[in-house]
Symmetry: C2
Subunit: 469 residues, 2 copies
């Protein structure tokens, strides 16, 4: 390990280099390269005992240059210590950084955590500035399309299990999009911005999307119309095969690679028995810059009030009913590695906030009462001065692993104890009285049926377990 | 609901009042009062559809004036929209705000989430600027000491279950501390600062604590010595009884209330069978300002490397081996209520980061291998060109609820598939080959014993379930 003071000096100098490049508005590539060097220096400094080498600072540089136009939604922290800091914008970029910094070359993991966006909140539609994301990713150098197919299988399983009504999963590939733009005559430097425009097709009519392409993005009508033909196409493995024969697309190397992989993906999806819900859709674009291959988005078919405001940045809330999305991002980990070593990744983000709000809506309209507690038994009494006996029994049952509550009152009324059970959905009441104590029994009451039975105290735990299986 | 424009105007004016008071360094009480009015106005504006009334902004005002000297550790956010924002410092203050804003008068809940502190991180000792807290709180107007006893029972249960070695839980009461300071002759305005000094007794000798009281805090030697006598006392219910007879303490109303409750608390702890680990300790002070009654702290007896740096702000990491702490805070919710309506609360914060790092240390020194996956079966093959059959079987098992992995390679070697199981602790391998496919069986291999048996494909799910119960 290098001498600490030397390292700190080097970090300071390198930091100045990065700041200078930024102030001069140098190219993204140039800045990225110098930032990578800076991170490497910091990584060397990291551990204070040599055993665990940590990177102490996750500076704003981590998020810079990953989100394109969405960067304006990043929450910056007040500069209290001379560093640029930001709040996590999503879970994907931090995951990529984690892999690079810890030199992890393969991993499969899920992560449920909060992210932060400086967006306009819309409370009643479940859109907040602080909200949960739920991500699943597979990182590693593997044979084509196998992990990608698993991600789609997982989305399918989740949406099936949650019983949110019919859904479909749109699939496309960035390479097919880029190939399509190329053969349609879009200039290379406009690929990303035209991609953003195509992404709006799920909430705008083609006519308006075309207008944006021509009037705002400067495409000719011809070029836009050619794009319009492709993006209207939907199908399955058959469409991939047909497009591989397309006189124009078949001449484009990128498009062919994407279409060949699309065919392979569908053959795996067939084995996973999920093709009934998956659609190869050439209009699917997804906003984020970091995707390099397959992209996908799951959409619920049931109609849900459409959000008034629009926000291309939301992982899984861009369009009405969109509840999951993701894709392959093979270049992101390499952006954090000083030597640019790549770790291919594919992942999916489940829109749990969205899904929860749909499930809540469903629960509200359903007649079934949602139980708000896991408590199995309330220890109660009809008589006064039995608090100590109630606490003693409560403790006995707790020690036996039963979920028990007791009202925190010296002498609560039996009625209010029973009401508490009905309100919260506690199914059983263990009632103590002078007579029960004398007889060595507990009166066990079923809240729903009101049936009561005396249970010997020694058998109480077993009896409760039997009834609450 | 008031007219929206009027409300917005009123909020603007009230915001100016608050800012003016702050710039004039007005008294805390005065600022708190005006902030409460501001929050009330914002609450009225909150909902945009009248159905759910939300408070849109959780401004920095929420955290101001709750943490005393620790406030310097609050992470401020960059002012991007003209508001003061901070990152959550702990879970207690946000919980209190939540109760007040939603007019909740009783609730029992746990919460595991991240908090943020602008402190010096110490990676190797599990001390970070972003870390998890795990809180349990009971809010509501109840009979004395019943919820308090439950909190202690829970701490006892957790530390017992986790098997972290011997421990004890110190208990004291802010009212006993204040009464003690009063009868020892500490001036009222010095109670809090002397309390902070007493709090250092777990890591400083009495001589040094006394020096700080006399030299830095300006107490006379006499007064300090009188405090010294009390804070050396430890005991149980008996000590509370003895102190109730103490000629000086028994004259102080606050102290008597605290001691009477301490007696009651111990009687409940006896019923909960936890008195073997609970000690009434007059030196326990705890740093935070918001406690109003019982306070407690759980300490592991095993020796753990002492942290070099000291930090009075950490909920459960103040002293060597301190892994949980909490107490009663009856005034905090009222600070957020425009009418000052109080909701009594008692809670505990479990130092999960600390506990995890102790458990990790334990796992490292133990010979038992920690299993890093929940996967029950790896679907494998010894022969080439069976990827499709592997994927098909994987999907079958997934659909039956079995936790299955498959290597993402077209033709992996059997050895590398078996090695993967040994490295990650997957107990079973389901092996497919031409012969097995022809016979309609799967070879099920026990990774540990290497024993293999052919299982009819139709029985495979049951056989796996039987073996991985």
């Amino acid at each position: 390990m290098a001498d600490k003071a030397q390292l700190q000096e080097a970090i300071k100098t390198q930091g100045e280099v990065v700041r200078k490049l930024k102030s001069e508005k140098a190219s993204k590539e140039q800045i990225d390269e110098e930032v990578a060097k800076l991170l490497q220096l910091k990584a060397q400094l990291g551990g204070d005992e040599g055993k665990h080498v940590f990177v102490l600072k996750t500076a704003k540089e981590t998020l810079t240059g990953k989100y394109g136009e969405d960067s304006k939604l990043i929450y910056d922290l007040k500069d209290q210590g001379g560093e640029l800091l930001s709040l996590r914008y999503d879970l994907t970029v931090p995951f990529a950084r984690y892999l690079a910094m810890n030199k992890i070359t393969n991993i499969k993991r899920y992560h449920i955590a909060k992210v932060y966006r400086r967006d306009n909140p819309a409370m009643t539609r479940g859109r907040y500035r602080e909200f949960y994301q739920c991500d699943f990713d597979i990182a590693g150098q593997y044979d084509a399309m196998i992990p990608d197919a698993e991600c789609l299988k997982i989305v399918y399983e989740i949406l099936n299990e949650l019983d949110l009504g019919d859904f479909h999963i749109k699939v496309n590939d960035r390479r097919i999009l880029d190939g399509m733009f190329a053969v349609c005559g879009v200039p290379g430097e406009k690929f990303r911005t035209i991609c953003s425009t195509v992404d709006k097709l799920d909430k705008m009519a083609w006519e308006d999307v075309k207008k944006e392409m021509v009037n705002e993005k400067g495409l000719s009508e011809d070029v836009a119309d050619r794009i319009g033909e492709y993006v209207s196409m939907q199908g399955g493995q058959d469409l991939a095969e047909r497009l591989l024969q397309d006189p124009k697309l078949s001449q484009n190397k990128q498009a062919c690679a994407g279409l060949t992989d699309m065919k392979l993906l569908f053959s795996y999806l067939e084995l996973f028995q999920v093709t009934d819900k998956v659609v190869f859709d050439l209009s699917l674009a997804r906003g984020l810059d970091y995707y390099t291959g397959v992209i996908y988005e799951a959409i619920l078919s049931q109609t849900i009030p459409a959000p008034a405001e629009q926000n291309g940045a939301d992982e899984a809330g861009v369009s009405v009913g969109s509840v999951a999305g993701g894709g392959r991002y093979d270049g992101l980990v390499g952006m954090f590695d000083p030597k640019g070593r790549k770790v291919p990744c594919v992942g999916v983000s489940i829109g749990i906030e969205r899904i929860f709000s749909i499930m809540e809506q469903k629960a509200e309209t359903s007649s079934e009462k949602v139980r708000t507690t896991e408590t199995q038994v309330l220890v109660a009494s009809a008589q006064k001065n039995l608090l100590e006996e109630r606490l003693k029994l409560t403790s006995e049952l707790w020690n036996a692993g039963i979920k028990v509550e007791v009202l925190y009152k010296k002498n609560p009324k039996l009625l209010s104890q029973l009401q508490h059970c009905e309100e919260t959905g506690i199914p059983l009441v263990a009632i103590l009285g002078e007579q029960e104590l004398k007889d060595g029994v507990v009166k066990l009451r079923n809240v729903a049926s009101r049936e009561e039975v005396d249970v010997p105290r020694a058998d109480l735990v077993d009896e409760i377990k039997k009834r609450t299986l």
